[in-house]
């Protein structure tokens, strides 16, 4: 493990700053974090959306939110044909919290981490509550083309629908493949999925 106590002792001479700016925080992160595995230093650079949400404490003005959402909407790529995959594979993806960390194998398929924040299948009691419950999602909202498109898009880039959402942009960030996202759409919408029982 790399350490920098000695370096930190030197850095401590930096002047005290009240309410550091995003740029200053970014400089601190560049100094005090180091790359490990696939977690490289470029991840420290904020994009425009992250900066806007940080500055707004995740509560952007309606006008700003609208502009950010429109920009994010343009990142969504819909595949040809059906948006519904295999709910069984979707359930496994929803369970898995792996992917993109320095301890995950680079290139190995990621999971969706869905149960970390959402209630889905009734048999899984260990679910998080940061996001809304998705129980009976397809049953209450239907599973026509419009709903399919919405669910696919929401998983692909949640920020296109809510600018400062806490949900990762799972497609835009390259976490999940289009096939995987289709499997998650099936988990939510397929009448045979346990989510809709």
């Amino acid at each position: 493990m790399r350490t920098l106590l000695a370096a930190a002792l030197v850095c401590a001479a930096a002047p005290a700053l009240a309410d550091p700016t995003d740029k200053q925080v970014e400089e601190v992160l560049k100094r005090d974090l180091h790359p490990r595995g696939q977690a490289t230093m470029d991840r420290i650079e904020q994009d425009e959306l992250q900066r806007a949400c940080t500055d707004a404490h995740d509560n952007p003005s309606p006008a700003l939110a609208k502009r950010l959402e429109a920009e994010q909407m343009r990142t969504i790529r819909y595949p040809e044909g059906s948006l519904i995959g295999d709910w069984k594979r979707g359930e496994a993806l929803a369970q898995s919290g792996r992917g993109l960390t320095w301890s995950d194998k680079p290139g190995a398929p990621s999971g969706g981490s869905c149960y970390n924040c959402h209630e889905l299948s009734p048999s899984e009691l260990s679910y998080g509550t940061i996001g809304p419950s998705l129980r009976r999602f397809g049953k209450t909202r239907g599973n026509g083309p419009e709903v399919q498109k919405y669910v696919y898009g929401k998983i692909y880039n949640a920020k296109a629908y809510s600018a400062c959402s806490q949900m990762p942009r799972l497609g835009t960030s390259g976490t999940l493949t289009p096939e995987q996202i289709k499997d998650l759409v099936a988990l939510l919408l397929d009448p045979g999925s346990p989510v809709n029982q």
Binding site: Q95, S96, G97, R98, T101, S103, S113, Y115, N116, L125, S126
Partner: protein, 139 residues
Amino acid sequence: MVGVFAVAAVRPWTALAAAWNKDAFGAKTSADALKGIGAVGAAPSGDIHVEAPEIAENGAVVPIEISSAVPGTSSIAVVIDKNPFPLVAKFDFLEGALPFVKVNVKMNETSEVRVIAQAGGKSYVATKEIKVTIGGCGG
């Protein structure tokens, strides 16, 4: 609460030759484990009290507190159906001990947990299902 603490000293095992029921602990089914400890046909009993959470967020540590109100209880055993080796522990209570024990056990998955009390040559059983879940991010 004031406790008395001491640190262990490694020393020769001084008890009588330690007996370990290889057959019972090596059994791969609850039925064989029960046979191994002579508890086939144990009668269900409401006098065995099993205090355990219905859901454990980690199968590596599942606390179980057991006491028996069956008169003359001489031993308590814990058998977990879905574990690769179901017999987890057997406690023999000699003169001076109350038929009580609290212990942390491992559970591979959600399972029935059987607690066997033996008294006067007879066996009694209480069962409880404990669900094992994932506690945190899973990463």
